[in-house]
Amino acid sequence: MGRNAQGFPNFFFFQISLIGGVHAAKLYQRVEVTDPFIELRTGPGRSYPIFYVAERGEKVEILKRKTDWFKVLTERGKTGWVGRAQMENTLVDAGIKKSFRDLLVEQYIRRRVEVGFGVGRFEDETVTRVRAGISLGEHFMAELSIGQVSGSFSSSRLIDVNLIAYPAPEWRVSPYFTLGVGKFKNDPKGTLVGASSTEDTSANAAIGVRYHATRKLMLRGDLRTYVVFIDDDRSDDFQEFTFGLGFFF
């Protein structure tokens, strides 16, 4: 997806005007139906029954949104849920002739925060990971990753800050490379006697692939090498493989 170089300043202007608008009386986005009709359902899902249709030319107010369903109020006072596909063809009426679809696309391009979790193997033990990332332009992302390895003899907690590089972000299956630093904490199990817990600095590097499964959801897998600096002249290496999913806000 091509990104407009001017899109960024516009986005800030847009945000400021939004904040100004919130303090006024409760205003809703109004759109005009341009399809022959749109269908109102009783609930936010494809299986709920259609109980009303709003015709072409009718104006509806958007009260709220749940996932891809919009709760609308028609001029005739009917309230129901309309799917994204039908809403996309309506026209925004706020002094600008713009399709509602463009608004949604703008929102999608602006998404910047990504959250996810993963599971995998850290050497021979199970590792679980929770991650949050913020994109730094098209090709880079800063990520905070917290992992836990619960082994037979000890459990470790890994906290890392990583920089991810996406050489081809527009590909559906997109490779990435990461470099990061962090802390490696190791706590021996309570049932073991005489072992003490440790905390060391670590560095890691990984290669991975992410797959954009749907608009919001993606799957990712990576192969990571950890180096834990135990003291000045001793370090330890670990290999990790994780598979997980992530989604955008």
Partner: protein, 219 residues
């Protein structure tokens, strides 16, 4: 154990930056283009302030739950926790739970073989799960009330911490959610938390069932 970072690690370092670098260049090249497009003459027009009202999205769900957790070998105790969910699509959601319970070794103590330092020990767990709404529907109460509802299934991973042990925990469950209004939901949840424990002498896989009631608010 090695004394230096391995060759493979160094190779990854170099490779990562080599591949990442072209991306960095292409970004800096975009900037001059933006400057060219700047207008030479600034027309003296008064800008109309276009206000586009924000659409209120309700994809997050936050709430509390309370119930009974039955820990294998140690009996059932009450459990309370908090949950946050994010609805990705109408079918899928991600849920994070944190909860607290206690574990008691009183049955072992009665036999004269206490296992824990104290009779009642705290148990805490967290889990990250993915949920799927299998049966969305509506519940009708009388003539006037219709409430949206869903039966969902969940599976996830997490960690359970008790008696100084961190145990990787896998969970499976089924739940029911009913929404009296758009923003409020009541939940009934049944879960199985599976972890490996060596507390009673041998390492065994344990199934720990939880039944809970809860409420959440959407925002």
């Amino acid at each position: 154990m090695t004394s230096h970072p391995s060759k493979g690690f160094c190779f990854l370092l170099v490779l990562g930056f080599l591949v990442g670098a072209p991306g960095a260049f292409s970004q800096t090249q975009e900037k001059p283009e933006a400057q060219e497009q700047e207008q030479v003459i600034q027309p003296d027009l008064e800008r109309r302030d276009i206000k586009i009202p924000r659409i209120d999205t309700e994809n997050f769900e936050v709430g509390f739950f309370s119930g009974i957790l039955s820990v294998e070998d140690f009996g059932s105790e009450s459990v309370t926790g908090a949950r946050v969910a994010y609805h990705i699509t109408e079918d899928f959601f991600i849920e994070v739970e944190v909860a607290e319970s206690t574990v008691s070794d009183s049955s072992f103590r009665d036999l004269g073989a206490p296992l824990f330092p104290n009779e009642d020990e705290d148990l805490e767990y967290y889990s990250v799960s993915i949920g799927y709404n299998v049966f969305p529907g509506e519940i009708f109460i009388g003539k006037k009330w219709a409430m949206t509802s869903a039966v969902y299934i969940l599976a996830g991973v997490g960690n359970t911490d008790f008696i100084d042990e961190d145990l990787t925990t896998v969970n499976f469950g089924i739940g029911f959610r009913i929404l009296p209004t758009d923003w409020l939901a009541f939940h009934v949840d049944m879960r199985d938390y599976v972890w490996d424990s060596d507390l009673v002498g041998r390492n065994e896989r344990t199934n720990n069932f939880e039944l809970s009631l809860g409420f959440t608010a959407f925002f």
